[in-house]
């Protein structure tokens, strides 16, 4: 079943452009210049029930705008959008009962009242039955370990404590689709880990679809089977993380420290037939860059018999580096 289905989803904003100087400001009073910015540009999306999808892109790439359309906050300028079988904006009040939303930088809870009162208010807002509420909540409180925070007002919580409560709050009505916007921003490793484990559990147990935007790619490595990458309002990649690596990663590198001097020519001869580029860093240190389909083991096998190797180091581009490369290269290289 499809959780999210979008066809040609587009959002345009009309932005007022002010003229410079005092005179310009007066002219602005009468006659304004507007510029149309297309924040999201004909996006096609299909996300199935139970998927965990990472939605990434630079600041201003259109991530938040997409999320706001998917959650019904903004109305799309054009295109078709169905989420959980609803039109998010037009059928908003019915639709939002089926989703949970966490915006990392903004609290979803009431600032002044105790956490458990916030939960209680949400129970009423979503009309969750007492029995179901008690059972589900007790379990989440246990897993997220927030039992001792329940009596404190939200404003007194630390960021990590608050995020854990926010997650629980977003799941009180057991939504089938969860949106997370920067859920781990500014959190320490332990809390991050805790949250990721919790999300995995939710996903496995209830088949909750999770769409998360993040700048922290380790979130995606830990959670998502699928990545959608956005640049200037368009999708430039949609697929699994592995393929992203092989498509844009520069291949593995082998760094060797050898006991005696070897020339590059010799090395090239030893590995003839394999797609390897050699380079020398110092007298006794050489490096090889391998093509994607060249296995490391084969290269090493060609060498170990012929040269005395002291040390081997195998390096691979981190997801972070790959993504940075894509951003820097822009759409054309992608």
């Amino acid at each position: 079943m499809l959780s999210i289905c979008a066809r040609g989803l587009t959002k345009e904003f009309r932005v007022f452009q002010s003229r410079s100087g005092l005179l310009g400001a007066f002219r602005d009073l009468w006659n304004r210049n507007y510029r149309i910015i297309r924040a999201v540009d004909h996006i096609d999306l299909e996300i199935y029930q139970g998927e965990m999808v990472g939605y990434i892109g630079e600041n201003g790439a259109g991530k938040s705008t997409t999320i706001k359309m998917l959650t019904g906050i903004l109305e799309p300028t054009s295109g078709d959008l169905t989420v959980n079988g609803y039109h998010p904006h037009r059928q908003r009040r019915e639709f939002v009962k089926t989703i949970g939303v966490v915006f990392g930088q903004r609290s979803q809870l009431w600032w002044d009242i105790a956490v458990k009162e916030s939960f209680r208010l949400l129970q009423k807002v979503y009309r969750v039955h007492d029995e179901q509420y008690e059972k589900h909540l007790r379990r989440m409180i246990e897993v997220m370990d927030i039992g001792n925070l329940l009596d404190q007002p939200v404003r007194k919580l630390s960021l990590g404590q608050r995020m854990r409560c926010e997650l629980v709050a977003a799941l009180i009505h057991q939504p089938s689709l969860l949106f997370l916007d920067e859920p781990t921003i500014g959190l320490d490793v332990l809390v991050k880990d805790n949250i990721r484990r919790f999300l995995k559990e939710i996903n496995q147990e209830f088949r909750t679809t999770i769409l998360l935007t993040t700048h922290d790619l380790s979130d995606i490595e830990a959670l998502c089977s699928r990545v959608i990458m956005l640049d200037q309002g368009r999708i430039i990649y949609d697929g699994d993380l592995q393929r992203l690596r092989s498509k844009w990663g520069s291949g593995k590198k082998i760094h060797l420290a050898v006991e005696e001097n070897v020339s590059l020519k010799q090395l090239e001869k030893y590995t003839e037939g394999l797609a390897v580029t050699w380079s020398k860093r110092t007298e006794r240190k050489v490096s090889a860059v391998l093509n994607h389909d060249t296995p490391v083991s084969k290269v090493l096998a060609c060498l170990v018999e012929r040269i005395p190797i002291q040390e081997v180091q195998i390096e691979e581009d981190s997801t972070e580096e790959i993504v940075r490369k894509i951003y820097q290269g822009g759409e054309t290289n992608a």
């Binding site: 904003f13 201003g60 938040s64 705008t65 706001k68 959650t71 019904g72 906050i73 903004l74 109305e75 904006h89 908003r92 009040r93 019915e94 939002v96 009962k97 989703i99 939303v101 915006f103 903004r106 609290s107 979803q108 009431w110 002044d112 009242i113 009162e117 209680r120 208010l121 009423k124 807002v125 979503y126 009309r127």
Partner: protein, 262 residues
């Protein structure tokens, strides 16, 4: 409907809980409201120390009108009076949160901002009305009280509708505007007899920003004045219309809303 009532009660309960935490704040608010109303009364008394009549109105009558006005005002202040909407919901983006919840957005905003302690103003209003009446001879028919309740709801709806309309402006533009305080200053004109003003102001207060329906027209009816009788009966209708216009503008504004930040 029933679940809306229970939701309202839940909000109320939470509100009282937070309010009790800041109890001195509560007292300070109450005293400052009282002082504000006392100043207005003194103003009326000062005027009548120079004259016995104001375009045919006696001191008792003007005080009565002011007292009546305090009642719809108290309801308005409790449930519709939101000054920080632009700041809190548009600029700080809390409207995004509201929009991801399955209750009408306006209702949520109103419930999050209600200050039901302002209802104490009803008592002040009644006391001031009785004081005004002590110098007058008013005959109360059995249906007058019912009409008064109807008029009060009309007056609250006028104020509420106009405030909702003003809040809706923020949904179109996130720049700060100072229209709200200006409009509500004009609103104060509605608590004095309208025939003391210039003709133009009378028209504005009746048909454009119908604040005269909050205080003066209904109160003059209760004072057994015949001149504005028809207008007084229009109060519930005018209230309903203004409220409806406010709600329609709000709903349109929500469709227009562009979201905060980024």
């Amino acid at each position: 409907m029933l679940s809306l009532v229970s939701l309202f009660l839940e909000y109320l309960k939470q509100y009282i809980k937070t309010r009790l935490v800041y109890r001195w704040d509560f007292l300070a608010q109450f005293i400052s409201d009282l002082l504000f109303q006392a100043v207005n009364l003194i103003f009326i008394l000062v005027i009548f120390s120079h004259t016995t009549q104001l375009k045919g109105w006696t001191q008792g009558e003007v005080i009565f009108i002011y007292g009546y006005f305090l009642i719809p005002w108290a309801f308005f202040a409790s449930f519709f009076n939101i000054w920080t909407f632009n700041d809190r919901y548009i600029i700080r983006g809390e409207l995004d949160r509201i929009l991801t919840r399955p209750v009408h957005s306006l209702l949520q905003v109103l419930m999050e901002n209600m200050t039901p302690e302002s209802l104490l103003g009803v008592i002040n209003g009644i006391v001031v009305m009785i004081w005004g009446m002590s110098a007058l001879e008013i005959e109360w028919a059995w249906y007058d009280l019912l009409l008064m309740i109807l008029f009060i709801f009309g007056g609250v709806a006028v104020y509420g509708g106009i405030n909702i309309l003003l809040m809706s402006i923020s949904l179109y533009t996130d720049s700060k505007n100072d229209i709200q305080p200006i409009i509500f200053n004009i609103g104060n004109y509605g608590r004095y007899p309208v025939n003391i003003y210039h003709r133009l102001i009378q028209i504005v207060l009746t048909w454009i920003l119908p604040f005269a329906f909050v205080g003066f027209y209904p109160a003059s009816f209760l004072l057994d004045q015949q001149a504005w009788r028809e207008l007084a009966f229009l109060t519930p209708l005018v209230g309903l219309s203004v409220l409806l216009i406010g709600i329609v503008c709000w709903n349109r504004g929500i469709r227009h809303y562009r979201g905060a930040g980024n």
